[in-house]
């Protein structure tokens, strides 16, 4: 029993060590030459534009269902007109960043782990190094920069479309006037909420993409290994989204409220 636990601890520590080493190299890769600008632009497109549909649909339906549920609850207090306030506060502060993070973790985290994992097991990463290219600069830095920039933008889009979804249900099914809804939305938001909704996605994007890259670059064991890496990346980055969301929220509350 002691040996498997010791081995598990060693393996876990090794993973943490390698992850931190990778982040150190990424830091260096961000500020020293060479830069692979074309790869950065490609990743902005793949991570940002590629995730737009799934994020739009998620945001829209989340806003719709939120308005529906809030409507039922608020009816008990005769406060149906306050739906907008609850929808905007929930979406901008929590659901927008977290659901966008989870969607990107499912779509982008898995894709990165599978792509880099396949490159590992087919020696393409070794070939890159043999050709004089640092895989961190060429593959990891562009993805992390894209995650840092595009996840916040996707979150803004998801939050915006979520409020539109809430408006559709509030006006169409709950029979609340459009102006009352939007007035309530604005009343429900404080500047700190907006900052929270904008700051959190940076951390989530960084966590999702860096975990996907780390897991992908640690892949071994052929196609089976690629499958395992993909699953691990989705699980680890999804858990990281929830955990990082809590930690960053805690810090931001201490700093801003």
């Amino acid at each position: 029993m002691a040996i498997p636990l010791e081995n598990w601890l060693k393996a876990a520590l090794l993973e943490v060590q390698e992850y931190v080493r990778m982040l150190g190299k990424v830091g260096r890769g961000c500020v020293t030459r060479p830069f692979y600008i074309r790869d950065v632009i490609e990743q902005f497109d793949a991570i940002g534009i590629g995730s737009l549909t799934v994020v739009l649909l998620t945001g829209l339906f989340t806003g719709m269902v939120l308005a529906l549920q809030m409507g039922i609850t608020l009816d008990v207090f005769g406060a149906r007109s306050m739906v907008g306030r609850l929808v905007s506060a929930s979406i901008v502060k929590e659901l927008g960043p977290v659901l966008t993070g989870l969607m990107v973790a499912g779509r982008v985290g898995s894709g990165i782990a599978a792509e880099l994992g396949s490159m590992m097991v087919t020696d393409q990463i070794a070939a890159l190094r043999a050709l004089g290219t640092d895989p961190i600069r060429k593959l990891v830095v562009p993805r992390i920069l894209a995650g840092l920039v595009m996840v916040p933008i996707l979150t803004v889009v998801a939050s915006g479309i979520g409020m539109v979804g809430g408006w559709m249900v509030t006006v169409g099914l709950l029979r609340v006037a459009s102006s009352v809804y939007w007035n309530s939305v604005v009343q429900g938001l404080f500047i700190q909420d907006v900052w929270m909704g904008l700051i959190k996605p940076f951390f989530l994007g960084f966590a999702i993409v860096s975990i996907g890259c780390h897991v992908g670059l640690r892949t071994s064991g052929g196609t089976q290994g690629v499958g395992r890496a993909t699953t691990n990346a989705v699980v680890a980055s999804s858990v990281a989204v929830i955990a990082v969301d809590y930690l960053v929220t805690q810090v931001l509350i201490l700093l801003m409220y």
Binding site: A126, A130, G132
Partner: protein, 285 residues
């Protein structure tokens, strides 16, 4: 026109590493992964313009030697010199410069799936050496012509046969004009006709372009073919003929057994050794 041109080296080093000079040196190299010893006190010297052919059972450490030369792995003990520089203690950034003079053909080609043949072959020129686009394109067409795959320039690796992928991998390795080429099982899994074509590419680079090479293989027929033949230019054609005299010593075999050098010598000496060494006899039979 010569396909390969010399990269700038200090004059004294250039003189020391001229034909017959020690371009790769392994001195008492030892490597283990956890408890498993991969290489034990391996020493050998590859001379400029010569070929070393590594034979041995699976897991004997043949491919590991190529990865050590590239700096993809570090030895636990011993020294490795490539192109006059000691690489075993170099950082990844320092190794990038050393790799400029090395080309590697990986076991399955390791071509980049998402890139076309043109982009694969010209990768180093476009991405790392910043050649002007027209010059890089001309070089890509030149090397693809050299290996007879010029018409496949816009295809993706998935649209090529195994043999074509291997040849594109050779083209990619030679595109940046390295002085040293490393081949990891370049003919494994290929039909005999395609394997001979790949062997001929290896010989053309060695004999016509003075590229020093290390060949790791299981294919004895290909190993002996490369060791005992040479490419010669006859007008605009290239012919392959049997080697003789000193030229026969320019291709040497190294047999690895349990991570150790069990035999080192030319093709004739290897054949003679099979009469006294049961392991070599079994391996070559």
């Amino acid at each position: 026109m010569a396909i390969l041109e010399s990269r700038t080296r200090p004059p004294l080093l250039d003189e020391a590493l001229a034909h017959g000079g020690p371009i790769i040196v392994f001195d008492d190299v030892h490597l283990a992964f956890d408890d498993k010893v991969i290489l034990r006190n391996v020493s050998f010297t590859l001379q400029t313009g010569h070929t070393k052919i590594f034979l041995g059972a699976s897991g004997a450490g043949k491919s590991t030697i190529l990865r050590l030369i590239l700096g993809l792995l570090k030895p636990d003990a011993g020294q490795i010199f490539v192109n006059g520089e000691q690489i075993d203690a170099m950082s990844e950034d320092e190794l990038m410069a050393v790799r400029g003079d090395l080309g590697m053909v990986f076991q399955e080609g390791a071509l980049f799936d998402s890139l076309t043949v043109r982009e694969n072959v010209g990768y180093k020129l476009y991405e790392e050496m910043n050649w002007p686009m027209d010059k890089a394109d001309a070089r890509v067409k030149e090397v693809l012509g050299f290996i007879g795959l010029a018409e496949f320039i816009e295809r993706k690796p998935s649209e090529l046969s195994g043999g074509q992928r291997r040849r594109v991998a050779i083209a990619r390795a030679m595109a940046a004009k390295p002085r040293i080429l490393l081949y990891d099982e370049p003919t494994t899994g290929l039909d005999p006709i395609t394997a001979i074509t790949v062997d001929e590419e290896i010989m053309k680079l060695r004999d016509l372009e003075e590229v020093s090479s290390i060949l790791v293989t299981h294919q004895l027929r290909d190993a002996f073919f490369v060791a005992e033949h040479m490419a010669v230019r006859r007008g605009s054609d290239i012919a392959f003929e049997k080697v003789s005299g000193d030229k026969a010593d320019e291709a040497e075999f190294i047999m690895l057994r349990d991570g150790k050098v069990a035999f080192e010598g030319n093709a004739g000496e290897l054949r003679a050794a099979t009469k006294t060494d049961p392991y070599l006899e079994a391996f070559l039979s």
